[in-house]
C-alpha cells in the first residue's frame, strides 16, 4: 500500500515491506543529518502536533524532524489542552487543526483517540500514543534501532521486560515483531503486569510465539533487552501501583552477570528506577542511540506520508 496520505494509527495496518521502505528512507535521512546537508523536502507544509498528554521525546523528535525538512509546526500541548478541556471537544479541536494543517500528529490519554481523529480529519493523522493502546511510531523506531545495531531484525532473541499490561510501546512493538522472524520473543514481568489477554490472543493468531521467562533466564538468551517503566498514570487504582512499584530493576551488575556481551538494552524512555544510570556507560546501553534515531525515523515517516521525495 502506498505511504502517501496514509493514517498511521495502528502498527497492524502496516506490512513488513512498508516498514522496510520506511527504514531505508530513515537511513538516507540519517546520512543527510550526519553530513549536515538535509534536503528541505517539506518546505511549505504545516504540521500540527496535538499533544493532549505530556510528551518530551515524541513531540520534540516530531518537531525536530519537521523543522529539519523545512516544514512549519503548530504545537498544541497538554497545557493548552487543559485550557480547552472546559469547553471544546476533542473532535472539534481536531477539526480546527485539520483546517489549518497538512498533517496532524496526535497524542491522547484515551484509547482510540487517534482513530477517531483519523475518521474526522481530511489530513493524514499520525498516532503519537493513545492511552495504553498504540504507539506505532515508537515501534517503528524500536525496530529501526535494532536494524541499525544488528543489521537485521530477523534471527534475534528478544526479551521484553517490565510493564507489559499498560505499556503501549510493548503491544505495538510485539505487533511489529510479528511481521518479522525473531528466533524467540521472551516476556518477563511481575504477574500483575502481564500482557493483556486480548493482545496475547491477537499476537498468537498472527503466529508470534511468546514465552514467559524469569529476568535471569531471559537475559542469558537475549540479543535485544527491551525495558519499560511501570506506567503509573494508567493504573485504575493507585494502590495497585504501590504493590508493583520497584518490583524489577535492570542494573549493570545484573547485565554483567547474566547477559550476553553483545546484547543491547533498549528503553523507550523516560525511565524511573527500572533501569539504573550505571548501565549508561556500558556497551549494553543503546537507548540513547534509540532516542537519537527518533529524528531520522520520523523525518522519513513525515516525508513518506506527505508524499515528499523520500
Amino acid at each position: 500500500m502506498p505511504w502517501q496520505g496514509r493514517d498511521v494509527v495502528d502498527i497492524r495496518d502496516f506490512s513488513r515491506e512498508d516498514l522496510e521502505i520506511l527504514f531505508e528512507a530513515a537511513d538516507r535521512m540519517l546520512d543527510e543529518l550526519e553530513s549536515g546537508n538535509v534536503k528541505k523536502r517539506l518546505e511549505g507544509k504545516l504540521i500540527s502536533l496535538a499533544f493532549f498528554e505530556p510528551s518530551t521525546r515524541t513531540r520534540t523528535s516530531f518537531e525536530a524532524a519537521a523543522k529539519r525538512l523545512g516544514a512549519e509546526t503548530i504545537v498544541f500541548t497538554a497545557e493548552e489542552a487543559m485550557s480547552v478541556a472546559k469547553g471544546e471537544s476533542f473532535a472539534d479541536t481536531i477539526r480546527m487543526l485539520d483546517s489549518y494543517s497538512d498533517l496532524i500528529v496526535v497524542r491522547h490519554r484515551y484509547e482510540g483517540a487517534a482513530l477517531l481523529a483519523a475518521e474526522i480529519a481530511r489530513a493524514p493523522v499520525i498516532n503519537g500514543g493513545d492511552g495504553r493502546q498504540h504507539h506505532p511510531t515508537q515501534a517503528m523506531l524500536d525496530l529501526y534501532t535494532v536494524r541499525r545495531l544488528f543489521s537485521t531484525i530477523d534471527g534475534l532473541n528478544y526479551l521484553i521486560l517490565g510493564d507489559l499490561r499498560y505499556s503501549r510501546t510493548v503491544s505495538s512493538l510485539l505487533y511489529a515483531l510479528s511481521l518479522f522472524r525473531p528466533v524467540s520473543v521472551m516476556l518477563s514481568s511481575p504477574s500483575e503486569l502481564r500482557l493483556r489477554d486480548e493482545v496475547r490472543a491477537d499476537l498468537e493468531a498472527r503466529g508470534l510465539k511468546l514465552r514467559e521467562v524469569s529476568i535471569e533466564e531471559g537475559l542469558r538468551e537475549a540479543d535485544v533487552i527491551y525495558v519499560t517503566r511501570i506506567q503509573r498514570e494508567r493504573f485504575p487504582d493507585p494502590s495497585e501501583y504501590e504493590k508493583v512499584k520497584g518490583s524489577y530493576k535492570v542494573t549493570r551488575k545484573l547485565l554483567e552477570t547474566y547477559a550476553k556481551r553483545s546484547a543491547k538494552v533498549l528503553h523507550p524512555l523516560p525511565r524511573v528506577d527500572e533501569l539504573t544510570p550505571d548501565v549508561d556507560g556500558t556497551e549494553f546501553q543503546a537507548y540513547f542511540l534509540q532516542a537519537r534515531l527518533g529524528v531520522p525515523l520520523r523525518m522519513a515517516l513525515l516525508t513518506l506520508v506527505l508524499g515528499g521525495d523520500a
Binding site: S89, F90, A91, H108, R109, Y110, E111, G112, A113, L115, L116, D130, G131, R132, Q133, E198, V199, R234, P236
Partner: protein, 161 residues
C-alpha cells in the same frame, strides 16, 4: 413453531404481532427484558418455556400481540438468543419469517467496558462500535480501543444489571 404440537395446546395463535421462536431454553425472560417489555404496556404477551423442539431439544417462545421489533431490537435479540427466529404475524398468518443474525459491526447499542476508551469520553460526537470476533462463543471487540465483550457482559449490559 408450527411443528410444535405441545406448544399449540398451551397458547393460542395471535392475530397481529410477532412470534419470537427458537429462543434458547430459559432465555425468554431475558429476551423480554432486553426488549424492555414488562407486561404493563397493555398488549398481550405469551411465554412458553422449555417447549419441545425437533431442532433444539428444548426452546422458549415469546408471542407479542401488536408489537413489532425495530432493527436495534432484532440485533439485541441476536446478541442474547442467536438461534431465535422472528415471525411477523398479520391476520393469523406468518407474513415474514427470518433468523436473527449478529451483525459484523454493531453500532450504538453497547457501551465499551473501558472507561478510557474515546467512545466513553463525554462531549464527543462518537458512537460506540463493536466488531464481531466470534459468534460462538460470542466475542465482540471495541473498534476504538480493542476491549472485548463476552456473552455474559452483553447480557448484563442489555438488561441493565
Amino acid at each position: 413453531m408450527e411443528d410444535d404440537k405441545g406448544e399449540k395446546l398451551l397458547v393460542s395463535k395471535i392475530r397481529d404481532g410477532t412470534v419470537i421462536d427458537h429462543i434458547p431454553a430459559g432465555k425468554a425472560l431475558l429476551v423480554l427484558r432486553i426488549l424492555n417489555i414488562r407486561g404493563s404496556e397493555g398488549f398481550r404477551v405469551a411465554i412458553v418455556m422449555n417447549a419441545d423442539s425437533t431442532r433444539m431439544g428444548r426452546k422458549d417462545i415469546v408471542k407479542l400481540e401488536n408489537f413489532y421489533p425495530k432493527f436495534d431490537d432484532i440485533t439485541k435479540i441476536a446478541l442474547v438468543a442467536p438461534t431465535a427466529t422472528i415471525n411477523t404475524i398479520r391476520d393469523y398468518e406468518v407474513v415474514q419469517k427470518g433468523q436473527v443474525e449478529v451483525p459484523k459491526l454493531i453500532e450504538g447499542i453497547l457501551r465499551c467496558p473501558n472507561p478510557t476508551c474515546i467512545s466513553r469520553k463525554s462531549g464527543e460526537p462518537v458512537t460506540s462500535k463493536f466488531i464481531l470476533v466470534s459468534r460462538q462463543p460470542l466475542r465482540l471487540r471495541c473498534y476504538y480501543c480493542g476491549s472485548e465483550l463476552t456473552e455474559d457482559d452483553v447480557s448484563k449490559q442489555l438488561t441493565g444489571e
